[in-house]
């Protein structure tokens, strides 16, 4: 059963088309939804949750029709919105317990799960305090906790790192990774930052102007472009020439050489070449192209392709 299917999914507003006949089929995993602001990421998430009605087309989530089977479906779904969603005059504990009950958990179970979940997201003594005094990072943790408290099969996280400083961003991404990998909960996470998607997700869906640009496993996007970075303590040109003689494609970037990594024999070839030339090997490092690099511009794409 696919996790998500979307068929000709369209959402039109009077002035803009947020989703334009989007077709999509995704298997469970940790899925990253990427695109610039206004690309339609939030709209897609809201339609999947039943918060918005599509203008036309249909979608299923976990095998449920999002328009007709909303209440059944949403028992198994957690949602972390992009915007503020916390009542600030109550404590995190009270709020998360309430949200657990509203998700269908009996009172006792709701209390237990709320305590556990808040601990998992890293809120301790402060969970008994009014949320008014929380930092942005703590609020984001509570938002994550309320989406996780009923142990959903799927969590939809809309820009979970928004407003966080670099440290908080890292911690949030670690948490999301843990939820996806260790807790085994399927995640659909949106972000306008490719680096975040790359770090956390194993599948990438790119949307622009309400249209699907690509949907692919992240390893498929990066693996086939693995490079080996070589740095030596002498002139690099003779080494580059030697490697080219061996039929390898080499790109020089200052003192560093980049060689496409096709098989393990390359390591031996480089070692032998370095020894023959009497050079010292400073660095030999496998490099995975970052998604950022792939997406940056067509020129960057070509540069990679030239290697």
């Amino acid at each position: 059963m696919p996790l998500v299917t979307a068929t000709q999914l369209t959402k039109r507003y009077p002035k803009v088309t947020a989703l334009d006949a989007l077709n999509l089929e995704l298997e469970p995993g940790v899925i990253g939804l990427v695109g610039p602001n206004g690309a339609g990421k939030s709209t897609l998430i809201k339609i999947l949750l039943g918060l918005l009605e599509p203008t036309s087309g249909s979608a299923t989530l976990l095998g449920f029709d999002v328009a007709r089977q909303g209440p059944e479906l949403r028992q198994f779904v957690g949602y972390m919105p992009e915007h503020d969603c916390l009542p600030l005059d109550i404590s995190a504990t009270e709020f998360v317990v309430h949200m657990a009950q509203v998700s269908g958990l009996p009172r006792a179970a709701a209390r237990e799960r709320a305590a556990e979940t808040l601990r998992h997201v890293g809120l301790f003594e402060e969970r008994y305090r009014e949320m008014r005094g929380y930092s942005t990072g703590m609020k984001q943790r509570v938002k994550l906790a309320q989406a996780l408290v009923h142990d959903p099969q799927l969590m939809l996280l809309d820009e979970p790192t928004i407003g966080l400083d670099p440290g908080g961003r890292e911690e949030m991404l670690d948490l999301v990774t843990r939820v996806g990998r260790e807790f085994g909960i399927t995640i659909i996470m949106s972000s306008h930052l490719l680096g975040e998607i790359e770090r956390v997700c194993d599948h990438l869906v790119q949307i622009e102007s309400g249209r699907l640009v690509r949907s692919a496993a992240i390893t498929a996007l990066t693996d086939r472009r693995q490079l080996l970075a070589i740095e030596v303590d002498g002139p690099a040109e003779p080494l580059a020439a030697r490697l080219r003689q061996l039929g390898l494609s080499v790109r020089e970037d200052g003192r560093v050489l980049f060689v496409e990594l096709k098989d393990e024999a390359l390591y031996d070839a480089i070692r032998d070449a370095v020894v023959d030339l009497g050079l010292g090997l400073v660095r030999l490092e496998q490099q995975r192209h970052s998604l950022e690099e792939l997406f940056r511009s067509p020129a960057a794409e070509q540069a990679v392709a030239r290697v």
């Binding site: 949750l49 039943g50 918060l51 909303g70 209440p71 059944e72 949403r74 028992q75 779904v77 949602y79 919105p81 915007h83 503020d84 969603c85 916390l86 009542p87 600030l88 005059d89 109550i90 009270e94 309430h98 949200m99 009950q101 509203v102 998700s103 269908g104 958990l105 009996p106 179970a109 799960r113 556990e116 601990r119 998992h120 997201v121 890293g122 301790f124 402060e126 009014e130 930092s135 990072g137 703590m138 309320q146 009923h150 142990d151 440290g167 908080g168 911690e171 670690d174 843990r178 260790e182 807790f183 085994g184």
Partner: protein, 294 residues
């Protein structure tokens, strides 16, 4: 916040939830209970309790006075009549509604929590209904409960408690019927108005305006218009509508100086008006929540 050490402490292993999931009905019930508590500021800081609890106490005062008189040993001293009870506390009830309804409707709109409810099993109508039921319940606590206390007070003040209860057996059903209708109508008006805006101040003022201006405009129109049609203008005043159906339920005619006596409308018309107003207001409430962007 121990940001640095957090990583090591919360690494305790995740357990999946294998217990029951009670679904939509439980979700709506949980929301109802939450809202009823919120109506009186339970589980909220003191500042949230002040108004609803203070007003509730005032709504109990007439009944408390009667109980006090009874306790003082005065016989047959019935100062507070049940059919007049809501008239004594009408402004308190309006203030209670104006304080609580914006709290129930506005908070979720302000804080953005609405999206969390609607992304769960709770539907838009479920949400509106749970809030409506909670406000009705809260209103019953400040209408029917004081009436019950008053009944006990009056009976205690009578020479024979049980004799009084036997003689006045019509009172409790009338008190309950009028209290329920009042609560439903006032709650519906309050929520219909409060749901329109996340701003608490606006909706509080608007709710009070409906009750207070109504009670001014209704009788004024009644008095300036000599026509027969003018009599119906009293139905513009929620307070007079409440008074009208309460007296009708109790089977009592209005005093001569009461505007109701002047309008001389059939009692059932007040009850019908209340029901119609409640249905219309509930319609507005549901319409609002069908369209609201979460």
């Amino acid at each position: 916040m121990s940001e640095k050490t957090a990583g090591s402490i919360y690494d305790l292993g995740y357990r999946h939830y294998t217990g029951v999931r009670l679904g939509r009905r439980h979700a709506v019930w949980a929301l109802y209970v939450h809202r009823l508590r919120a109506s009186f500021g339970i589980g909220r800081p003191l500042s949230s309790k002040m108004f609803p609890v203070g007003l509730a106490i005032i709504a109990f005062l007439p009944a408390a006075v009667q109980l006090g008189i009874a306790a003082a040993g005065a016989e047959n001293a019935r100062v507070v009549q049940p059919e007049n009870y809501y008239r004594y506390v009408q402004i308190v009830l309006a203030l209670f509604c104006a304080a609580v309804a914006p709290e129930l409707m506005g908070r979720d709109q302000r804080s953005g929590t609405l999206a969390l409810y609607f992304s769960r099993a709770i539907g838009r109508w479920d949400y509106a209904s749970a809030n409506f039921a909670a406000l009705i319940s809260a209103m019953l606590a400040v209408t029917v409960v004081p009436q019950a206390l008053l009944f006990v007070g009056n009976a205690l003040a009578a020479s024979d408690f049980f004799q009084y209860a036997r003689d006045e057996w019509r009172q409790p059903p009338a008190a309950i019927a009028s209290g329920v209708l009042l609560s439903v109508m006032v709650a519906a008006i309050g929520l219909a108005i409060a749901s329109q805006t996340p701003r608490r101040a606006y909706s509080t003022v608007a709710i009070l305006a409906v009750f207070v201006l109504g009670s001014v405009i209704g009788p004024t129109l009644l008095n300036v218009s000599g026509h027969d049609v003018g009599r119906y203008s009293l139905l513009l005043s929620p307070f007079h509508v409440v008074d009208g159906f309460t007296l009708w339920f109790f089977g009592v005619s209005p005093d001569a100086e009461n505007q109701l006596a002047k309008a001389d409308l059939p009692g059932a018309l007040y009850a019908t008006t209340a029901v119609a107003v409640a249905i219309a207001a509930l319609g507005i409430l549901l319409w609002r929540y069908r369209r609201i962007v979460a």
